[in-house]
């Protein structure tokens, strides 16, 4: 096994370890309505952000989830710009057990180590 393959394996072990920081993602919904379930990854949902221009902490809400690139069989979640389509949606609980649904706003894949970071946006009822 090459070091790159080993890095990919180690990455998946880390993000899918529910005994440590791995967290169950309720579901990822594709634009066509089909769902991908039983995913485990790393989630963040914090109300603080760093202003890239000044480096100062500013108020905001930054939500993201890190998954493995092979969780989706080649078609990654991405931002759907076209308003005629449904977006990719991700649902997971906070530590209090409250379920939130988000829209995928930006996708940051690392095809070398196999990570897929999804930057999420609040998604509401119609």
């Amino acid at each position: 096994m090459s070091l790159r393959d080993q890095a990919f394996t180690d990455f998946k072990d880390i993000i899918r370890n529910t005994g440590e920081w791995g967290f169950t993602i309720d579901k990822v919904v594709k634009p066509d309505g089909s769902e991908v379930t039983t995913l485990v990854g790393l989630t963040t949902d914090i109300s603080a952000a760093i202003d890239p221009d000044t480096g100062q902490i500013v108020s905001g809400r930054h939500i993201s989830v890190a998954l493995s690139i092979d969780d989706f069989g080649g078609e990654y979640p991405r931002n759907i710009h076209d308003s005629d389509e449904k977006p990719w949606r991700v649902s997971f609980k906070d530590v209090a057990g409250v379920v939130y649904e988000f829209k995928v706003e930006e996708t940051i894949p690392d095809r070398a180590i196999g990570s897929l970071v999804l930057i999420l946006e609040a998604y509401g009822a119609p």
Binding site: A49, D51, P52, D82, K103, E121, A122, P126
Partner: protein, 221 residues
């Protein structure tokens, strides 16, 4: 040793003008919502919250999942004085700049037709709708002097600038902001010297219908 004998407890004109701008926006917003309802339209499209001098009025967007009512914040930026149109004792002609900041949030959501409304587009359209209402209200002919004729000489919108969200620091809430600085020309007044009564002179006369003085008293004591 102090020389001002009266308590300074009145608002300066700059504060009065700021409060009046906010009061006009609130009054006309409520009337617009009533008119919209009467016209069978959704009054929420004419709704916005008005604040003065708030540093972070948008915090409600952070703490609520669904709050999308636009926010208008009126605050005093600066005040300059025209020496040539003022006097050193009583009245100074001032030009105040009042920043009228608009924040609008958009929410990505299903549109019920198989697609969705992008949050960034929703936020931008909400913001432009609100700045449209603010500009139309404050520049309406009936508010040429902000209902403060005698105090306000002119009001004028300097510009409208929009602020785009940062692309390299994506937030979960789609919020777009705009600013319309408004210049207002008005007078500022200051405490005057209270004179001492040195001598009181009074005269009274009584006239008959022909205009003849039939009685006069003159007190020169």
């Amino acid at each position: 040793m102090s020389k001002i004998t009266t308590l300074i407890d009145k608002e300066d004109s700059v504060e009065i003008v700021r409060n009046q701008i906010a009061a006009i926006l609130v009054a006309e917003r409520d009337n617009q919502k009533t008119l919209a309802t009467a016209a069978g339209k959704d009054p929420a499209l004419w709704d916005f919250n008005v604040y003065i001098e708030r540093a972070d009025p948008w915090s409600i967007y952070q703490n609520s999942e669904t709050e999308v009512t636009p926010i208008v914040n009126v605050w005093i930026d600066n005040e300059t004085f025209e020496g040539g149109a003022s006097n050193i004792a009583e009245r100074q002609t001032a030009n105040g700049r009042f920043n009228i900041d608009i924040y609008a949030r958009g929410l990505a959501k299903d549109d019920g037709n198989g697609g969705h409304t992008p949050g960034d587009l929703d936020a931008a359209l909400n913001m432009h709708r609100t700045i449209r209402l603010v500009r139309n209200i404050l520049m309406a002919a009936t508010y040429s002097y902000l209902d403060l004729r005698g105090l306000v000489g002119k009001r004028w919108p300097e510009s409208i600038s929009t602020f785009q969200p940062q692309q390299d620091n994506q937030q979960a809430q789609a919020v777009v902001a705009a600013r319309m600085p408004m210049s207002v020309r008005y007078n500022e007044f200051s405490p005057q010297v209270e004179g001492d009564t040195l001598e009181q002179i009074a005269a009274s006369i009584t006239l008959d219908p022909s205009g003849e003085v039939i009685q006069a008293t003159f007190d020169y004591t």
